[in-house]
């Protein structure tokens, strides 16, 4: 049927002057600007929006508030969009999802016939027997599960994040929220109000608060005007408060932006969501919450049907009936669940307009196939019992108003608990954390005067908590209108079932009862076993009924059942919001662009980008060998700016170094460098570098690229306790570094260095000097990580590129070339130098790694000393040895391949490479101590589990007498 559009003042959100067209399932439909997909479809007479997850039942509008899974639809680039939230735009293409065939004729609906074989928890019991059955079932199950299609070709959207700061943040733009915000702003606080709807007003936009239907609009206009005119109050509409974290960190999603709101105090006035009634076929399209029908009419000018039945247990249902009448919709009957409904302004007005009210009755069964065509009504004879006479009423719309549950997710995120309150038959937020205030329906108040008064009080209290306490305390209301709104048992099991408790998961009354009977009595276990509340709507429409049913099945009051844990986000949010525009810092060396220009393949090293090698990827191995050969035979340069640089300065500098590192430093001469090995309190190796003594009270210490920040923090942490007279500065970024290495390195460097004598006698191995290179003030370190004559040149970062250029130019005649990290790794392995973190792990102590030579036994203390002494006194369990392969022609072992003996793991390979200088495969590996003697053999479990024999050989592999680096 076509319901069409209602005349004004219906349709508060739509602009009748702007017509639009969109498609649903390939068919064009008209819409108005301001429509949601769901409202436009309802206006077009389309009532089936989706298919249910399990049985593929037709589903239509339920809440019209983005609170349920019935309206999940497919957009071109986004699955699982909420049709009652997504605005229509010209040309928008929308489709159904989770069907086989078509939305109107879903072949998968046959699954419902198998329902008797799919009781609650069946998937925990089925599919796994006999052994191996899951392999067969997996494909079937995977095809049937999941909702919507991800478009991997969808263009990337722009998502970002922004902080907002305010004294008071108010969540909810209804009468309570608006009142709170206005009061707090009036007190002098800076206030931000967040509402998820297109316009503020909340229930005042659609609900009926008096018989004449006039008050809501009047109150709304007054509040909205006051809010918009206040200079200290900013209203954000279309802003979904998703989460509340510690210290009032409020996450608000607004379009493609995540606002990170930092508020001194937070007022939660998020309202309540209406609850469905449980009866047979209560999920038929056309059966919806009373508030959903009101939203369709008041917000979108859509008549939700022609002939309605209202099922209610409170005044709100009569307000719905009056609205329907105002819209020209026939109300066939009002089923009032209460046996003797009290007189009220709203009910009396409904009776005065000739409504047929059937007290003590309920809708017992929905009739119809594609949408509701009628209901069977029955007399209520006990809690959930309808054993009396029944009769049918023809209708195409059923509106249900039997109570609410609080929109309390944010409160729960902050630590509040939901507790069932017998007096009001609802869940109430309890144990509200400090710094938070609650107002309105979320706390159970439904009387409009009480809601406004609570809002004012909460706003006043929130402002006062922030020091804005100049205004008189508003009077807190006495009555709240919280009793008699929720019916205590709007659940009516049917002999034939299909009374849905959880629409998302197609769970019926028997499923909850059977879950309890299966022993899953506690609410958290019940949730996981039955999946009640685990669907997209996260139990917003099922939690209350589940608690009631489980309580009855256990013979306990609902108040003793508790509720499940509520976690962020409060409503579904997109991956774009979660992932969008995160900050990923990256660091570049000063000569970075020179590497790129030279054809370097860049690799990530911590936050840094470093050249892996220079050349095309398909020539990777050749390039690495060529670079390594240049270092061994000629001259080459590598950018080592990423090495950590830490200044240790002060009268106690030597004492500090002595405590932080394993070697001895007090007698280290000025102008000399010394290897620096750092261990942690457990004796494990954590970093290494070179300690350069430039003055009695000044060390410049290098650290590994990945370890520099940790070393620096370590130093600060220890000296905060030691209180030595020393200053520690991390100058990693302030100094760039270039290592020039190779037999011709002295010759090349001497071409642009005049104030430092580079001769072996004047500047021996491990010497350190100040000087200038190409006019740039530098620190020169004669070190030899790659085992050749070489110099590390450390210069102020601003001159990094100029220094690189100068070295390239000075070495052009000699055939200088750059080399990357991969060649450096190869070269250092030939020298047997370890890389911390690669050749060590989190437990490696120096003696295992054959680094005992770097540990001073004479010092009274260094970090890790006691642990190393203990470890040394015990039998060692593994040793790092150098190895060579007898046969290097087969598949090579790789790093982390295991070393094994008689089927037992004894260690692992840490480094392995085919050495161009040695012409064989060499590596480092952990082996059992009795395998560590030179000449011993051990086995590596290589590719495919093949055992590869390796021989322990002396280290260094290359230039064992270190003659080349000490030239």
């Amino acid at each position: 049927m076509r319901a069409g559009r209602l005349p004004e003042p219906f349709g508060r959100f739509v602009d009748r002057a702007e017509a639009q067209t969109f498609t649903f399932e390939g068919r064009a439909h008209p819409a108005l600007a301001g429509d949601t997909v769901a409202s436009a479809l309802m206006a077009a007479g389309v009532t089936t929006l989706s298919r249910s997850f399990k049985y593929h039942r037709r589903r239509g509008v339920l809440t019209m508030a983005g609170q349920d899974a019935n309206t999940l639809v497919q957009l071109a680039d986004e699955p699982n969009a909420l049709a009652d939230v997504v605005p229509v735009s010209e040309g928008l293409a929308v489709g159904g999802q989770n069907y086989s065939g078509s939305l109107g004729n879903d072949r998968a609906a046959l699954l419902e016939r198998l329902a008797p074989f799919m009781p609650v928890g069946f998937y925990y019991k089925a599919f796994y027997k006999p052994k191996g059955a899951w392999k067969l079932w997996e494909g079937v199950v995977r095809r049937l599960t999941g909702l919507g299609r991800v478009n991997a070709e969808a263009p990337h959207g722009y998502y970002d994040k922004m902080y907002l700061f305010c004294d008071v943040a108010v969540v909810g733009g209804g009468p309570a929220g608006l009142s709170a915000a206005i009061e707090a702003a009036a007190a002098g606080a800076e206030v931000m109000l967040f509402d998820d709807q297109p316009a503020p007003g909340g229930a005042l936009n659609y609900a009926r608060f008096d018989a004449a239907g006039e008050r809501a609009g009047r109150v709304r206009d007054e509040l909205v005007r006051a809010a918009k005119n206040h200079p200290r109050l900013k209203v954000y509409t279309g802003a979904v408060a998703e989460a509340l974290y510690e210290d009032n960190w409020l996450a608000v999603v607004h379009g493609n932006r995540l606002y990170k709101v930092r508020a001194h105090t937070v007022v939660v006035a998020a309202g309540a969501f209406e609850q469905p009634m449980v009866f047979r076929n209560n999920d038929l399209p056309g059966i919806m919450l009373g508030s959903a029908a009101q939203r369709l009419m008041r917000l979108y000018a859509v008549a939700p049907g022609r002939r309605a039945v209202v099922a209610t247990a409170n005044d709100h249902g009569y307000g719905v009936a009056l609205d329907l009448l105002d819209a020209g919709i026939e109300v066939a009957a009002v089923a009032d669940l209460r046996p003797d409904p009290p007189s009220s302004e709203m009910k009396d007005a409904a009776l005065a307009r000739g409504l047929r009210v059937v007290a003590g009755h309920t809708v017992f069964e929905g009739l119809g196939k594609k949408r509701v065509a009628g209901v069977r009504m029955a007399e209520i004879t006990g809690q959930g019992e309808c054993r009396g006479a029944s009769f049918t009423v023809d209708c195409d719309l059923v509106c249900v108003s039997v109570g609410y549950a609080p929109t309390a997710a944010l409160l729960c995120h902050a630590g509040a608990k939901l507790a069932y309150d017998e007096a009001t038959a609802t869940l109430r937020p309890d144990r509200i954390p400090p710094g938070m205030h609650v107002a309105g329906a979320v706390g159970g108040a439904h009387d409009l005067d009480a809601v406004i008064a609570e809002g004012r009080f909460a706003g006043w209290a929130a402002a006062a908590a922030g020091g804005f306490d100049g205004r008189a305390e508003p009077k807190f209301p006495n009555g709240r209108g919280d009793v008699g709104v929720n019916h205590p048992w709007p659940i009516f099991p049917h002999p034939k079932g299909k009374e849905f408790v959880d629409f998302d998961e197609d769970l019926v009354v028997a499923d909850i009862e059977n879950a309890v009977a299966d022993g899953f009595e506690e609410i958290e276990l019940l949730k996981r076993y039955s999946t009640s509340g685990m669907g997209p709507s996260q139990g917003r429409q099922s939690a209350l009924a589940t608690v009631r049913l489980a309580a009855r099945a256990r013979g306990r009051p609902p108040a003793e059942m508790g509720t499940t844990t509520v976690r962020p986000p409060a409503l579904p949010e997109t991956f774009g919001v979660l992932a969008g525009r995160s900050f990923n810092p990256e660091r570049l060396t000063p000569a970075h662009h020179r590497h790129v220009e030279a054809g370097a393949r860049m690799m990530v090293a911590g936050l840094w980008w470093r050249p892996a090698f220079y050349g095309p990827p398909e020539r990777r191995d050749e390039c690495i060998v060529e670079e390594a050969t240049a270092v061994r035979a000629n001259v080459a340069i590598i950018d080592v700016s990423t090495l950590g640089g830490i200044e240790v300065r002060g009268a106690d500098a030597a004492e500090f170094m002595n405590r932080m590192y394993t070697f001895a430093y007090k007698k280290q001469q000025v102008g000399r460098g010394r290897y620096a090995l750092m261990t942690d309190p457990s004796g494990a190796i954590v970093d290494d570098g070179v300690a350069c003594r430039f003055a009695e009270d000044h060390y410049y210490v290098t650290a590994t690229t990945g370890g520099a920040d940790g070393v620096y923090q370590n130093m600060l942490w220890y000296n905060a306790q030691w209180r030595l007279a020393v200053d520690i500065s991390n100058v990693t970024a302030a100094w760039c570094g270039v290592n020039i290495a190779g037999p011709k390195s002295r010759h090349v460097l001497s071409r642009i260095t005049r104030d430092v004598d580079l001769s072996a006698e004047a500047f021996p191995y491990m010497g350190v000097r100040h000087g200038t290179v190409a006019g740039i003030p530098v620190r020169l370190l004669r070190v030899g990580f790659v085992g050749e004559l070489g110099y590390e040149i450390h210069a102020p970062a601003a001159f990094g590129e100029v220094l690189w250029d100068a070295l390239v130019e000075a070495g052009r005649e000699a055939g200088i070339r750059p080399f990357g990290v991969e060649a450096q790794r190869l070269l250092r392995l030939e020298k047997g130098h370890i890389i911390i973190g690669q050749d060590t792990d989190g437990l490696t102590h120096p003696h295992e790694a054959e680094m005992g030579w770097a540990v001073s036994g004479k010092k009274p203390f260094f970090v890790g000393k006691r642990a190393i002494e203990i470890q040394t006194a015990r039998p060692i369990t593994r040793r790092l040895v150098g190895f060579a392969l007898a046969n290097g022609s087969g598949p090579l072992p790789e790093e982390c391949h295991l070393t094994v003996r008689a089927g037992e793991i004894v260690g692992r390979v840490t480094s392995v490479v085919r050495s161009p200088a040695l012409g064989r495969v060499i590596g480092l590996a952990y082996v059992a101590p009795d395998q560590a003697e030179v000449g011993s053999t051990f086995h590596i479990k290589g590719p495919g589990g093949r055992l590869i024999a390796a021989e322990v050989v002396p280290v260094p592999f290359y230039d064992p007498d270190n003659q080349r680096q000490e030239l």
Partner: protein, 231 residues
């Protein structure tokens, strides 16, 4: 080639990005600075949202016991409170980062080269305080205009709005997940913030700011435009 060649000029850590944005460089002391950009009037952007790269310009720092007293003896005015900056007579800015640590930024006009004087005056003999190589260790950007604080809210968790973060206030915080120092230093009536952070992350930060500034029409501005507001 020999060791007596003149020291090359200092260039920005991001001079390539600046070139790509149309920067024209001028020599300022020992540095080359982006003076202006091709295109529209930069003074408009300065008032709305402008980002200037001042990285090549002089700045220095000292830390340790006695640093504050020594700087005072050198004629540098330093306030009592940490996280507050004091304008010097010649236009420089001295920001006290901690009881024993001070950051000094040279003035943006043509005043005395105060950082060079301080660096030259410091001697290691018997010093209990030490220079911090701010000029090489940190980039130096200046973010100006009425949208500056709002733009910062996209990259920084500190409330930098004018009524919350007073002129010459200092925040040592995280900007776009990197450590940074923010100093508010208005250019007359135009809100302005110095931003200093890890020099190796300069390009990363420049792009972060450019991205954050886009919705406000923010753009790079040169030193000449900045100076026009000082004169």
């Amino acid at each position: 080639m020999d060791g007596q060649v003149a020291r090359p000029p200092r260039r920005s850590f991001i001079y390539r990005e600046l070139e790509a944005a149309g920067a024209r460089f001028v020599a300022v002391g020992d540095a080359e600075v982006a003076a202006h950009y091709a295109g529209d009037d930069e003074t408009q952007a300065l008032s709305s949202l402008g980002i200037a790269d001042l990285s090549p310009l002089p700045r220095t720092g000292f830390k340790g016991d006695g640093a504050v007293d020594w700087l005072a003896a050198q004629g540098i005015a330093i306030g009592e409170a940490s996280n507050h900056a004091v304008r010097q007579a010649d236009g420089a800015l001295a920001a006290k980062l901690a009881p024993g640590e001070v950051l000094v930024l040279d003035g943006l006009g043509e005043g005395e080269a105060i950082c060079a004087r301080l660096d030259a005056a410091w001697t290691p003999v018997a010093s209990a305080f030490w220079p911090v190589p701010r000029r090489d260790g940190a980039f130096w950007f200046l973010v100006t205009g009425e949208h500056a604080a709002t733009m910062f809210a996209k990259v920084c968790g500190v409330d930098l709005r004018p009524d919350k973060f007073s002129n010459h206030a200092v925040a040592q915080t995280s900007v776009a997940r990197t450590n940074a120092i923010v100093v508010r230093d208005d250019l007359g009536a135009v809100p302005a913030f110095h931003l200093l952070g890890d020099s190796a992350s300069a390009r990363y930060m420049w792009h972060c700011l450019a991205d954050a500034a886009r919705e406000f029409g923010g753009r790079p501005v040169g030193l000449e435009a900045v100076r026009s507001l000082i004169r």
